[in-house]
Symmetry: C2
DNA sequence: TACTATACGGAACGCGCGCTCCGGTTAGCC
DNA sequence: GGCTAACCGGAGCGCGCGTTCCGTATAGTA
């Protein structure tokens, strides 16, 4: 949970209890959104954090501001992991490792999946530079894998992103189908 | 829009205006749900149908009853089309034709896609025999295609259903990725 | 300890939406 | 045309949820 402030205005430091509460809210909100999606009421998050609703709104002026803080952080992690994989593994392995990471993440973190699918927040609208960084990192992974011949040459970054969102949906709505085989089908389809 | 009543109680025929209004509501609701999903308010549907909200609720006691009527009808169509394809084409072509049909349908009809994904209605809960008929028809297509060697042998009916739901999600949330290639990847993955 | 800026909690407000209710209207029938 | 049962429209109720407001409590400071 990075603590950057959007602008550079000198913000006087929070009081100790305020800092505690803010952190608690952020953590609880992260867990709850991940488990149940972005639809959970603020009052509920406040309750589980042992805090009044007013306190939540003092730290995050809007519900959207709250989950934006969380989702942005998650996507930043994903971008970092993509870069790490690109640097530390051979092209094919790196690409497919990231592909798996994204789909597992989406299955685990319903809030993130909602955001990726544009439900309740559209990252591309709200944090265009983050969206760009994500696509950049993915492009790197994809192009190396294609150059190495482990991914068919005609798919684009947008295709892969779409496929990953679809795979997340499969895991969430799939019901009784075992994820392993379903994902394997898509991976197989990506091979040249 | 089939007009069966659930039980066999003799229902006295509707007055002419009532029948007109019912049909109008059904048609408008179908279009609106298809275009914008199951989240559209009843009042809005009533307004577009040129009818009061009370009239909608007289014919369909619940919002769920309304879209159930529509969704069930759509799924029945799909089952019928599956059977038709199974009877009129060779195994591989039939299976992939149905696969395409389902994904296009899901991209076109947001209401249907919502229902398939279990948002707002769970067909398996609400119309178990229809769900069974759907799976039966799909099983037939799948097993023939597998016997003919055009689909890999280890995927199950549940896998295929999940894949189709995922493909619908891809088309809906995919954004800028051209559907053709994305779907092609999944189809390619289904081949032996 | 006393004082004040800061933060807290939760009651309350506004709004959207599913659903109900009832005074008025109309189709069907003599 | 007149009568009645069936039907209609839309105002209104209840509820959930995002957001605001304000009287109270407390951290920080001297």
């Amino acid at each position: 949970m990075s603590a950057r402030s959007g602008t550079v205005e000198p913000v006087k430091p929070l009081r100790a209890d305020a800092r505690r509460n803010r952190a608690k809210v952020l953590q609880v909100a992260y867990e709850v959104f991940a488990a149940e999606g972005l639809g959970v009421p603020i009052d509920e998050i406040a309750r589980r954090a042992g805090v009044g609703a007013g306190t939540v709104y003092r730290h995050f002026p809007t519900k959207e501001a709250l989950y934006r803080a969380i989702v942005v952080d998650r996507v930043e992690h994903l971008v970092a992991q993509a870069r790490e994989l690109a640097a530390s593994r051979e092209p094919g392995a790196a690409f497919y490792a990231f592909f798996d990471l994204m789909t597992t993440e989406g299955a685990t973190d319903k809030g993130l999946a909602d955001a990726l699918a544009g439900e309740g927040i559209d990252i591309a609208d709200v944090m265009p530079e983050l969206e760009r960084a994500f696509k950049e990192a993915l492009r790197d992974l994809l192009e190396r894998a294609q150059a190495a011949g482990t991914v068919r040459a005609d798919v684009t970054v947008a295709d892969v992103k779409t496929l990953m969102v679809g795979c997340q949906a499969m895991q969430r709505y799939g019901g009784d189908a075992p994820p392993a085989r379903v994902l394997d089908v898509v991976r197989e389809g990506l091979r040249p």
